[in-house]
């Protein structure tokens, strides 16, 4: 069915995949920004954006009103607004880096999508075939490496803006991102100690991590790593919040003391690019967290995809299995995105010294201790 795609020239395939990423992530990120406003509104006892509507949808009797109340059309209104707004370019900025910064923000955000597997199906032989744009063996390392380049957009934006508040935002962001990268990387190591069993080639593959959480029934192989290694999951989640510059680690923006932080001087489409990048980082981060700690595309602990597909009688149709896995995976991502927003509108922002203290004096020692604990534990298990 999809054979014609694989017969195309690799360059055309790559272009198609890149376009697919943009076409999926861009609206997804926009929907996230709308969801954020709706969730914040509901938490504060407000209805949230509920006015915009397209005339001919308003004629649909019940659905039109419902969609209007849900604020769906504000998404389109916002997009159109950002497209047609005047692009201000302040006179005192370094023009090259000022324009470059939003582009640099988008690149790692979109590149990392390629290596995150988002679903799976079974071939006739019963083997698991992951759905990913590029299924590379260094999976997680690629995500970390490329997303660590995202810090340059903040630094460049802050520096090129050539004014006080963006500069402070950029400095804070760069220090914070580098600090939390350490504990983030250390916190996932127990997972890879676990899945790199002796006698197999070493791997950093995210698919492998999911396979190790796909056991059926009441057996420890079906337990998600989130339950097996709760401390790792917690440290990873906290670092993820810090890495994506989300509340309570919203140091780069921190609008109450820095006006708008690194994007104070930005407006219109360039500003919206920063936001799309932030939300796509959140999406990727949620995806990686799901793959590592929440069992990826397995519906429930001890209830893997294969079992559920068997129950529903989908085993013979790979396409439906793939859709099922995609739905489960997306469901978990949406929940994690909701958690992002939920935390944002609950926990107040840290002070900057608290952020640094938490990162270096609490999370880093904790993640090292966690790593040592699991290293010893796994060594003991394998000996015994």
């Amino acid at each position: 069915m999809f054979d014609f795609f694989f017969q195309l020239h690799p360059v055309i395939q790559g272009t198609a995949k890149g376009l697919a990423v943009i076409l999926v992530i861009f609206p997804f990120a926009g929907a996230c920004s709308l969801a954020e406003r709706k969730v914040s509104a509901w938490m504060q006892g407000r209805p949230g954006p509920n006015r915009a509507i397209v005339p001919w949808i308003a004629w649909v009797p019940f659905l039109g009103k419902f969609l209007q109340r849900l604020g769906v059309f504000h998404l389109m209104a916002d997009g159109a607004k950002f497209l047609f707004k005047e692009e201000p370019l302040p006179g005192h900025v370094n023009k090259l880096y000022f324009v470059l910064a939003p582009v640099v923000a988008m690149m790692p955000a979109f590149t990392t999508v390629a290596v995150v597997p988002f679903g799976a199906y079974f071939d006739p032989a019963g083997r698991l075939i992951p759905l990913a744009l590029a299924n590379v063996d260094v999976g997680l390392l690629a995500v970390f490496a490329v997303s660590s380049l995202g810090v340059y957009s903040l630094i460049l934006a802050g520096w090129a803006s050539n004014s006080k508040y963006p500069f402070l935002g950029g400095v804070r962001a760069s220090a914070q991102l580098i600090s939390y990268e350490l504990s983030m990387t250390l916190s996932v190591l127990p997972v890879f100690l676990w899945i790199n069993a002796p006698g197999q080639p070493g791997t950093m593959s995210l698919v492998k991590a999911v396979e190790f959480q796909s056991g059926a029934g009441l057996h420890w192989s079906g337990v998600w790593f989130g339950f097996l290694m709760p401390l790792s999951a917690l440290i990873f989640l906290v670092s993820l919040y810090a890495e994506t510059n989300r509340h309570p680690f919203d140091m780069a923006e921190s609008e109450s003391d820095l006006v708008g932080g690194f994007h104070t001087e930005y407006g219109a489409f360039k500003w919206s690019l920063f936001f799309v990048a932030e939300y796509s980082h959140m999406i990727i981060g949620s995806g990686v967290f799901t793959l590592l700690f929440l069992g990826g595309w397995n519906p429930l602990p001890g209830l893997p995809l294969a079992t559920v597909a068997g129950w529903l009688g989908l085993a013979g149709t790979p396409l439906l299995v793939a859709l099922l896995s995609l739905a489960v995976f997306l469901g978990k991502i949406v929940f994690l995105l909701f958690l992002f927003m939920w935390v944002r509108w609950t926990v107040p922002r840290f002070r900057y010294d608290q952020v640094m203290k938490l990162g270096w004096q609490k999370l880093l020692p904790l993640s090292i201790a966690n790593l040592v604990f699991y290293a010893l534990g796994i060594a003991f298990l394998e000996r015994g």
């Binding site: 969730v39 509901w42 938490m43 006892g45 407000r46 209805p47 939920w342 509108w345 609950t346 926990v347």
Partner: protein, 179 residues
């Protein structure tokens, strides 16, 4: 200077991780998601105005449709921001309300100056000017924001009082001295 010795509570290890606190915070916000909205959707829904509200100052008529203002200009004098401007005028003697002292020829309240203090209502001997429930004034020009006499009566309406002070005075004059 009084020094209040502040005793900081010693936190348990669990409390120092902040996680239970964050969890309880999350529970609170989750509860709010499902609780009803507390906001009004303004143009469609209007707030209930409490009694004694001081809105836009207006002029009122008595139940017979007579304008109550006699243009004594007390409100004009008392108005702190000098928002009121009255041009007094005669009432022709053959008019049905000829027995009333005077009536304003023009009565302008500049709503860009008005501070809604209510002194005009306080000072009015005729109970002719009231700060009523209207709270939203808007216009495209400065001239539009000046309420003229007809607009003031339109906003004010009729005051259902039963004093009929001037009619009683007329009746008393006609029936001669009471003593």
């Amino acid at each position: 200077m009084a020094v209040i010795p502040l005793v900081r509570p010693t936190l348990t290890l669990l409390e120092r991780t902040y996680l239970p606190q964050i969890a309880s915070g999350l529970k609170t916000t989750l509860k709010h998601i499902f609780s009803p909205n507390v906001t009004l959707e303004y143009p469609e829904q209007r707030p209930a105005i409490p009694p004694g509200y001081r809105g836009v100052p207006t002029l009122v008529m008595d139940p017979n449709g007579r304008e109550k203002c006699v243009s004594c200009q007390l409100c004009e004098f008392v108005c702190p921001p000098k928002a009121i401007r009255i041009t007094p005028g005669e009432i022709p003697a053959d008019a049905p309300t000829g027995h009333v002292e005077k009536a304003p020829q023009a009565f302008d309240i500049d709503m860009l100056r008005c501070i809604y203090c209510g002194l005009c209502q306080e000072v009015c001997p005729e109970e002719a000017i009231f700060l009523q429930n209207q709270y939203s004034m808007s216009g495209y020009t400065r001239a539009e924001m000046v309420n003229h006499k007809d607009r003031l009566y339109e906003l004010g309406g009729t005051l259902p009082d039963s004093h009929h002070k001037w009619d009683k005075k007329l009746a008393a004059e006609k029936s001669g001295p009471a003593h």
